[in-house]
Symmetry: C2
Subunit: 241 residues, 2 copies
């Protein structure tokens, strides 16, 4: 078997998320079907970051072992794209060592969250941004982002029923920037908890930097803000040292 | 009756075009339905630029006379957006004089055409760009755009069966620019013929600046290139002096 690293872009709009669920449309199921059609066999499909319903990817990473006849690595992306639906594409395929694992070999993940601050909705971006027309203090957003950077316990910003072993994450970068009528949040971390970015964004939009600091200290999920919708979130890239 | 100028954004993907056609989904029919629900009466709905199937608008202009009870002008956009489907939005509503006509008062229109030159398709932009992964000479594209600028007979770049009175258009600006993995064509003109921009783009992608010059001289539609798909085209703005 030859191990490949695939880099994927997808539009999350019409998926219930990455992970296979019986009877529901998922990115994983579409990719498995394409691998089945292109390669004689495959095994050990691993994804770097499981995304939820509506969440997009510009650079999702997947590792997979492929065997038997099939296209050479330099033709694998084109062969897979020929059978994938139009809302998923393989941007590149590379040979990687046998011990490469898209999840455990990753040293960090970068996500982006797009907030549209215009008064009226933008039809061309309606499945791409979170429309939030209420007033925002951009200095407060910058201060909240600064509070998040570093090693913290993010229990207040994840689902209470999740089975995370630890709520400690190291956020290497967290910044807001304005581009026209959008406020864009960029965050890099070693790892993320379930719903963590959407919960952080929803809380930053509604609460003060001091509130964020208190939530990191208390870990109390009930005090955090609403979870921002999946359609504004993008997995931008996965880092491998 | 009070005359309004409405500025609209829409995603052309799920429309057969602007103009009403029985039994088919059109932007005009959706806007008329919204006007019917928001105003007691309306009349003389005029659009600046009829767009074809799949073509988007970032700043379409419409004039309409409204009467009877209805929202004040400053609340008209929000009232219409509350009943419009999510792929059409009114960005602004303004009072205009009785002799204002969105089509005949316009002094120019600006369009954009987006070409994705990446090797693989981009799912998040699949209804927003024309994917053209073949090699392109960007100097030739610039030279072709320069040939188009000025007053010319564009008969070679429109449908042969259209009933235009004249094929003369004055192109004030035509430029290509690269933004990441896209080549973006911007064109401003006094008026455009049916399919003119898509035909110009399709021909520029496939033929030389000398070919474009010969087509402007000959007016022979059969020598022009294929019409580029509607999904890459945007009506950006309409100018009123």
């Amino acid at each position: 078997m030859q191990r490949l690293k695939l880099t994927l872009e997808y539009d999350g709009t019409d998926f219930v998320g990455w992970a296979r669920q019986p009877g529901l449309r998922t990115v994983e199921a579409e990719l498995r079907e394409a691998l089945r059609r292109v390669f004689a066999s495959f095994d050990e499909l691993i994804v770097a970051g499981r995304t939820d319903a509506g969440v997009h990817a510009l650079g999702q990473a997947v590792s997979v072992a492929v065997g038997g006849r099939g296209p050479a690595t330099e033709h694998a992306a084109a062969a897979l794209n020929a059978v994938l639906p139009s809302d998923v594409a393989v941007l590149s395929a590379e040979d990687v060592p046998d011990d490469f694992n898209a999840r455990f070999s990753a040293s960090g993940r970068s996500y982006r969250y797009r907030v549209l601050t215009a008064r009226h909705a933008a039809p061309l971006r309606r499945a791409r941004v979170h429309h939030y027309p209420r007033p925002l203090d951009e200095h407060d957003l910058d201060a909240s982002a600064a509070v998040i950077v570093g090693e913290h316990d993010f229990e207040a910003f994840t689902k209470t029923k999740t089975h995370h072993d630890s709520f400690i994450c190291t956020v290497r970068r967290a910044t807001w920037r304005r581009t026209g009528d959008e406020l864009i949040f960029e965050i890099d971390a070693s790892r993320f908890l379930r719903h963590m970015i959407r919960s952080l964004v929803g809380t930053m939009l509604e609460q003060s930097p001091e509130d964020i600091r208190a939530l990191l200290a208390s870990g109390n999920r009930n005090d955090a803000g609403t979870t921002a919708p999946g359609r504004g979130l993008y997995l931008v890239s996965v880092a491998y040292d």
